[in-house]
Amino acid sequence: MFLALLVGAPMAIALAVRIVTITTGLPVVNGAGLSGPTLFGILIWLLFVRFIVPVLGVFYGTALIADEVDDKTITYLFTRPVPRAAVLVGKYFSYLACVGLLVLPSVIVVYFLVVPIGGQIGQAFPSLVADLGMLAVGLAAYGAVFALVGAQLKRPLIIGLVFAFGWESTVLLIPGYLKRLSVAYYLQALVPHAMPQDSSAISALLQVFQELPSVPTSLICLTAITIGALWLAGRAVETREYVLEQ
């Protein structure tokens, strides 16, 4: 139900927008017509990058080990004749396959519903491919980070939510190098759409001082975060003693 809501909501929004535009024309924001590709960019940025990908990462990444501990089934996995880290990595890849098969088709459906409103499918296709790649990388990075949180901490869901919606959002607003300790900083450099702005003075100042890493730097850093977090999670699973509550 939760998954259906999370992935179905963008499609429902896109469908609603499409139906509205058939009868009343293109939506107008601040007196200017909004085109389909722009709307698609806004949906990708606000719904997928800033919400759905971190939420899926938090809920399913932390659950990789924590759910097995809560259900007291981790013993069955650890008694198998494979390294403990291999169990974690296997579960991580199954997480990637599941969330990938959920999120990416949803993005494609949204694309075909929204982009034809004042845009061309062919022309915007490269940005769709870039979006799919970016979301796949984001799911992998967030999944690995939260798998580490789930393997290392006792209350991983709360910590994960604080990290995803507290730390990640806050450090992006702080000038300096602190933002480099977040996944969102590297992920936003891969977004092929211009980020939606508001008209506040804070936003204006942020735009002046905005600094984004290059695409290769972002890809290298996200790969390093994914591999590093997975390796640390594997080590934690190998060395940590999980005490099952009776």
């Binding site: 924001v29 085109s35 722009t38 098969l101 088709p105 499918i121 870039a130 092929p192 003075a201």
Partner: protein, 348 residues
């Protein structure tokens, strides 16, 4: 794997393969999504050359009757404008406030010189226009059964004296201009080769701006306004022969577009297609910087704040767009700041 999981995986993969396959075909073949929806581009596009570097259209009637135009007319001296309009009418027999419905124009920078063509739809007095042009030295020729009124150097001495323009130098270099009535209510006016080409397209058809898929695609993206312009920035830049120091500073833009809707104010959208994603990102950064600066500069000027807050940067991939909404108050403020021109009597 349970049956449910199997169906989920199959459905997801199917959506992805069909979606990406369709997108890929659309990307390479150029199949427009708009093929599902018949959205008309102006019919006059079929009289413009397929090599046009700049194409624009204006719904003159809608703009002339708009509140904004009335406000500007009052703010900038309505009497002086009336004199200019009257002079134009005496010279050409056309009252552009009431006679013209729509104008579609192009600039073809592909050949030597600047070849422009204006296709105007409206109500025209053919006999009066021809007589007035002949009075100014024009000659009537026959071209494929159409009367072609050719006016060598027309406009050099005539159009330079409009309104309050007292310049002694000519506005345009000598150009052979021509005018023809393509059909009742449709006039083609511009450089002689392009007018002849328009007659060719009208009589025999052929490659025109309407068959230029890339151009039409950009035009369709700009629907919704009463004035729009689409052009090849790179072609125009090359044609302009700018000094290297200036040319190097210009962003690597291939196409640009402008769509405006004039009513009580002006709602507009400016789009630019950069050479690649990196160039587009650089352009976005530059625009973002200017927007931020503008927002900071206008915090103490409430009359401009709505305009500045309406500036919205957007676009995907290689496309950069800027939406804006200029309310009537901004034009009022600008009009009040401008010096009022002295009114001219019709005899002058």
């Amino acid at each position: 794997m349970t049956a449910k999981t199997r169906y989920f995986v199959i459905a997801s993969l199917l959506v992805m393969f069909v979606g990406l396959g369709t997108g890929l075909v659309a990307f390479y073949v150029g199949f427009p999504a708009t093929a599902f929806f018949n959205r008309d581009t102006p019919n006059e596009l079929k009289y413009l050359p397929s090599t046009a570097s700049l194409v624009g259209a204006v719904d003159v009637r809608e703009i002339m009757t708009s509140d904004l135009r009335q406000r500007l007319r009052q703010a900038m001296g309505g009497e002086a404008q009336d004199n200019g309009r009257r002079q134009f009418q005496e010279l050409t027999g056309i009252n552009f406030e009431t006679d013209i419905e729509r104008i579609v124009a192009c600039l073809d920078a592909a050949g030597a010189g600047n070849n422009g063509l204006v296709i105007a739809r409206g109500t025209f007095d053919d006999v009066k226009i021809e007589a007035l042009m002949r009075e100014h030295g024009a000659q009537v020729q026959d071209y494929k059964g159409k009367r072609l009124i050719v006016a060598p150097r027309f406009g050099e001495n005539d159009f330079g004296k409009f309104g309050n323009d007292n310049r002694s130098t000519p506005l345009t270099p000598p150009t052979i201009l021509a005018l023809t009535f393509m059909e009742p209510g449709l006039v083609a006016f511009g450089s002689s080769p392009l007018v002849q080409h328009a007659i060719d397209l009208h009589t025999a058809g052929g490659d025109s701006a309407a068959t230029n898929e890339e151009l039409v695609g950009h035009v369709r993206e700009l629907e919704g306004g009463n004035a729009w312009v689409v052009g090849r920035f790179d072609v125009l830049r090359a044609k302009a022969k700018l000094p290297d120091i200036v040319a190097n500073q210009l962003p690597p833009i291939t196409w640009f577009g402008f769509r405006g809707h004039v009513d009580g104010g002006l709602q507009a959208r400016i789009t630019a297609e950069a050479r690649d994603d990196e160039s587009a990102n650089m352009l976005r950064d530059v625009v973002r910087g200017f927007l931020a600066l503008a927002k900071l500069q206008t915090t103490s000027k409430p009359e401009f704040q709505h305009f500045v807050q309406s500036l919205q940067l957007g676009g995907t991939g290689k496309t950069v767009s800027l939406s804006l909404d200029v309310p009537a108050q901004v034009f009022d403020a600008l009009g009040a700041a401008l010096p009022k021109p002295p009114a001219q009597s019709p005899q002058q």
